[in-house]
């Protein structure tokens, strides 16, 4: 076999083994030492990262992609299910990035979760999650992808509910599972349709056999799966609620890796979607709606983690829009660059939260630029990368997406929504930076602000480096499969930048107004809409169940009893007779009035008859 092939296959399988090994050692009855987390798990991930760089460099040099089919798992007549790994350009680029980000997060978590008695278990859960994510990303058939899909869902549940003594955390974990389950319905529907129609779950065969078929049903199922997993509008409330978990969980799962699983699924199966205009339009409109709605909600949140969570949701909407534009590679590029700066934003938030003695409300922060300079600098770098500042990481992906959007035949509504969401991104990023690092401190004087621990500094530095150069490096080496449109009027070319700068200027103006009270009783309708998340959670989680339950109660207790006893049974008899009876006894009271009136009536009747 060719040495390149051997090297690539070996390295990638070694990565999996390196990550599985610490998990398997926990099955032994000997209790692990307290520093097992930092010595074993973090080292495993670090080594796996360096090992995974070898296939990456070979791919960049020679373009080697591999598919490794290990084991024939089962077959049902002519339907084969194998254990098969696909290391194409998507997986080979994503796996080192995921490992790099995870390495930084694990190192940070050794500081963040230092006082937690179950730290080893926490790291084990994170590692199992990472393995499931890599299985999902490298799967060559739908069965293996489904295994990874469910794995990340379950680990998300366990990690969000890490502090299970807190009722809110349990509710959030349950929400995550339920919303993901609804998406899973779509995935299983697609898998069933594909098994029935194409008789295969291997990605190669599916793409080849589906050339002339009408794929609307499975594609809508896949879009539903992505809606559930990647928090698109309609199934989005679990993502901000998932911030109940510890910050390393938010950084790893709910910003870089798990939530992009849905988008990754659509990217993997994008050849199925190329010719189906319905599916593409659904993706486009859903993504545009998501990105604007969640950006609006992010504008008035006061919890720093919730702002970053809504920012993640907004970027996921942008990725969905890109898929709707039939540009899966740009979506993948955005996934890669987004992982860096979003994880860094979460780690900065975690550092600030711990520094201010677990304070998460931005109205009670301030002045961190002087008190925690490295953290607030990294926060600023991350925010700038997020808004698409030219030549930082986010610029290469975000600007390319908006250029592609401006120059394609799509509906103007989606375009306007996305541009508006881009300007909102600048607004809420400035809001975070303003409230956290600028101005005077708004907290009490003795919080334990200390960022001098290398476990905090090194991950932030590594991720900051990634946020600055990752976009540049990836676009240098990654050939686009679709030719981008390179000529456009300057207004379209600068649209993203102009919209972002406008948002930034408006946010500056608004920030000047925060210290002056404009009106004594302002009309707060838009603020309330945004702050209450568009009233979506209240309606869906509280009002709809309440209506269903009260309907059930009314039917079960009142309606049945009333029908059988009062309307059709004994009481119906009385209720039919009594009105007639009371009407009749009205005349029979023995009043003189009655007699005299009757006398008069009879007499006048007689007069009429006699006179006519």
């Amino acid at each position: 076999m060719h040495p390149t092939m051997i090297t690539t296959s070996t390295c990638l399988l070694v990565v999996l083994v390196l990550l599985l090994f610490p998990i398997l050692t926990t099955f032994s009855p000997k209790p692990s030492p307290h520093h097992w987390a930092s010595s074993h798990v973090k080292t495993a991930v670090k080594t796996a990262f360096f090992v995974s760089l070898a296939p990456l460099f070979l791919f960049l040099n020679e373009g080697t992609e591999t598919i490794i089919t290990n084991w024939s798992w089962m077959n049902i007549n002519t339907f084969d299910i194998n254990m098969s790994f696909k290391f194409d350009h998507y997986s080979i680029i994503f796996i080192p990035i995921a490992l790099y980000v995870t390495w930084a997060i694990l190192e940070f978590a050794t500081w963040y979760m230092h006082t937690d008695p179950q730290m080893n278990r926490f790291f084990k859960y994170l590692l199992i999650f990472l393995v499931a994510m890599i299985i999902l990303v490298s799967a060559n058939n739908m069965f293996q992808l489904f295994i990874g899909w469910e794995g990340v869902g379950i680990m998300s549940f366990l990690l969000i509910g890490w502090w299970y003594g807190r009722a809110d955390a349990n509710t959030a974990a349950l929400q995550a599972v339920l919303y993901n389950r609804i998406g899973d319905i779509g995935l299983i529907l697609s898998m069933a349709w594909l098994a029935k129609t194409l008789n295969s779950w291997e990605i190669q065969q599916m793409i080849f056999l589906s050339k002339d078929l009408d794929m609307t049903v499975p594609l809508l199922g896949l879009i539903l799966a992505a809606t559930g997993k990647s928090a698109q509008f309609g199934l989005h409330p679990w993502l901000p609620s998932a911030m109940e978990g510890p910050t390393p969980v938010s950084a790893l799962l709910h910003s870089s890796t798990m939530v992009v699983a849905g988008i990754f699924l659509l990217i993997r199966l994008s050849p199925l979607m190329e010719n189906n205009q319905t599916a593409l339009s659904v993706c486009l409109c859903l993504g545009a709606l998501t990105t604007l709605f969640t950006a609006t909600c992010a504008l008035t949140q006061n919890d720093i983690k919730k702002i970053v969570a809504f920012s993640t949701s907004s970027q996921l909407g942008l990725m969905m829009v890109t898929i709707g534009l039939n540009q899966p590679q740009l979506a993948f590029l955005h996934i890669c660059t987004h992982a860096f700066f979003k994880a860094m934003l979460f780690l900065c938030s975690g550092s600030i939260i711990h520094a201010l003695n677990d304070e998460q409300d931005i109205r009670k922060m301030g002045g961190m630029q002087n008190l925690a300079p490295l953290t607030s600098t990294c926060l600023t770098i991350g925010s700038l990368a997020l808004t698409g500042t030219p030549f930082l990481a986010g610029f290469f992906s975000k600007d390319a997406i908006i250029e592609a959007m401006n120059t394609s035949h799509i509906n103007a509504w989606a375009l306007i929504l996305t541009l508006l969401a881009t300007s909102f991104t600048a607004i809420y990023s400035l809001r975070v930076v303003y409230f956290v690092s600028m101005g005077h401190p708004r907290f009490i004087t003795l919080p334990p602000i200390n960022e001098n621990n290398p476990s905090v500094i090194n991950p932030l530095k590594r991720l900051a480096l990634g946020s600055i150069i990752a976009g540049f490096l990836i676009t240098l080496n990654y050939l686009p499969l679709k030719t981008p449109i390179l000529t456009m009027p300057p207004s379209l070319k600068l649209a993203a930048l102009a919209v972002t700068i406008m948002g930034l200027l408006m946010a500056f103006e608004l920030a000047q107004m925060t210290s002056a009270q404009f009106k004594p009783l302002p009309k707060l309708t838009p603020h309330n809409f945004s702050n209450m998340l568009g009233f979506f959670p209240i309606l869906i989680h509280r009002l709809l169940p309440k209506i269903s339950l009260t309907l059930g109660q009314a039917v079960a207790t009142q309606t049945v009893d009333q029908t059988w006893l009062e309307k059709t049974g004994p009481k119906s008899m009385t209720s039919a007779q009594v009105p007639m009876i009371s009407l009749t006894t009205n005349i029979q009271q023995g009043l003189i009035k009655t007699y005299l009136t009757l006398f008069f009536l009879t007499f006048s009747l007689a007069m009429m008859i006699s006179l006519s």
Partner: protein
């Protein structure tokens, strides 16, 4: 209908209505009864004159005699009511009615 006929009929009907609808005092019912009797007396008198029927000339006198008896019976009832109930109001006769 001739004016005579009309006026006599309307007098009778007005008296009847007064009898049926004045329900405050017993005395007002008796007075209306007297009014009805008066209109009947006039009707009878005019009737025998209009039709030149001499045989009916004495009917008004008969009518008057009987109405006097009836009026005295009514007055006796009034006095008895006033003696037992203290007033001639018709509400007091209905007091035990629920």
């Amino acid at each position: 209908m001739t004016p005579t006929h009309f006026s006599v009929s309307s007098a009778f009907i007005l008296g009847l209505m007064g009898l049926a609808f004045h329900r405050t005092h017993l005395l007002s019912a008796l007075l209306c009864l007297e009014g009805m009797m008066l209109s009947l007396f006039i009707a009878l008198s005019l009737w025998s004159l209009q039709l030149d029927a001499a045989g009916y000339s004495s009917s008004p006198m008969l009518m008057l005699a009987f109405s006097a008896c009836e009026a005295s019976a009514g007055l006796a009832l009034l006095v008895a009511t006033a003696r037992t109930h203290g007033t001639d109001r018709l509400q007091s006769l209905n007091l035990l009615q629920c």
